[in-house]
Symmetry: C2
Subunit: 192 residues, 2 copies
């Protein structure tokens, strides 16, 4: 039987990761979140490959990491992107699972049977949630959210050339602040 | 009991209107589609009010309808927009219903208990569908779709200053080509 993958993109603070975890639990499959994939990449491929490839590309690789300018060759982020892409592709080949973040929808396009999801929420819900989940910071929650959104949109745009948060890019998008986290899980479970 | 409204925005050819009609039928409430509201507006308010107001604004009203330039006062579309807004607001006050198109989500913002929906589909699905539903034309279905999308996005943008098709503007968006029309109806019924 072919694996079925749920990819979840989400606004920071929308509860997308929680929805992914709950959904995976209810479906009895694994959930790989963005941080986990990043960690796997750093621990496994990134360290070895980066050192290896950086050697091949040097001195461009070195300059790139200093100047972060692609005119001088791939950057650290480019290496990491490549390794993360490989990890995500391998996960999808190995098992049915939920993958949160890391442009998994784009990476698996045409390669796997995916249900592509985007979760968003209004500012008040997200501000409240990031304080509860991540604690207070010096910056206001609104500032933190704006900054994170900007980074995610830019990252997504750069690596996928798709507009982040455009309904047309997903099979389903859900407003977790209006519908509630549990209702989102329920709908996705039903769709899966 | 307060009325509950489902507003459906949709890409041309995505089956949004069909989904609205089926949903309304299943919920035992009325469905007002874009064409119907337009017709009501033309038959009732538009004719009288336009003639009346055009008189007050003349000669600007006259010039506006010739030049379609808002520097000379409201255009035909502006009058129609105002009357359609009134009709949609009255419908929401009168009964629970499904409203397809006409920026009902924006018009009812903060005025009614709405579930806001956007339906989209891929090009092949839509091209196939518009030929089935509306028949062949001289232009290719892709050209017709592109033209219609452009008009809808511009209309929406002009009157609401919201970006059409942005996930963040809707409680839920669904890809009818991936999920199927009946599944979309099922999910919306479940959410309602």
């Amino acid at each position: 039987m072919k694996n079925r993958i749920v990819t979840i993109s989400r606004e920071f603070g929308s509860g997308g990761r929680t929805i992914g975890k709950k959904l995976a639990q209810e479906l009895g499959i694994s959930c790989y979140d963005s941080e986990l994939i990043h960690k796997i990449a750093l621990e496994s491929g990134f360290a070895e490959n980066y050192i290896k490839d950086a050697g091949e590309y040097a001195p461009h690789g070195f300059l790139a990491s200093v100047l972060s300018n692609r005119a001088f060759g791939p950057t650290n982020e480019d290496y990491l992107w490549e390794i993360q892409s490989r990890i995500i592709t391998e996960l999808a080949q190995k098992e049915s699972c939920v993958i949160v973040g890391r442009c998994a929808d784009y990476i698996l396009r045409g390669k796997a049977d995916c249900l592509t999801v985007f979760i968003h929420a209004d500012m008040a819900f997200r501000a409240d949630r990031i304080i509860k989940v991540y604690g207070e910071r010096e910056e206001s929650p609104e500032q933190r959210l704006k900054e994170k959104d900007k980074r995610r949109a830019a990252y997504h745009r750069f690596y996928t050339d798709m507009k982040w948060g455009h309904a047309q890019n997903y099979h389903i998008t859900l407003d977790s602040s209006a519908l509630g986290i549990d209702k989102c899980v329920e709908i996705l479970k039903h769709l899966y």
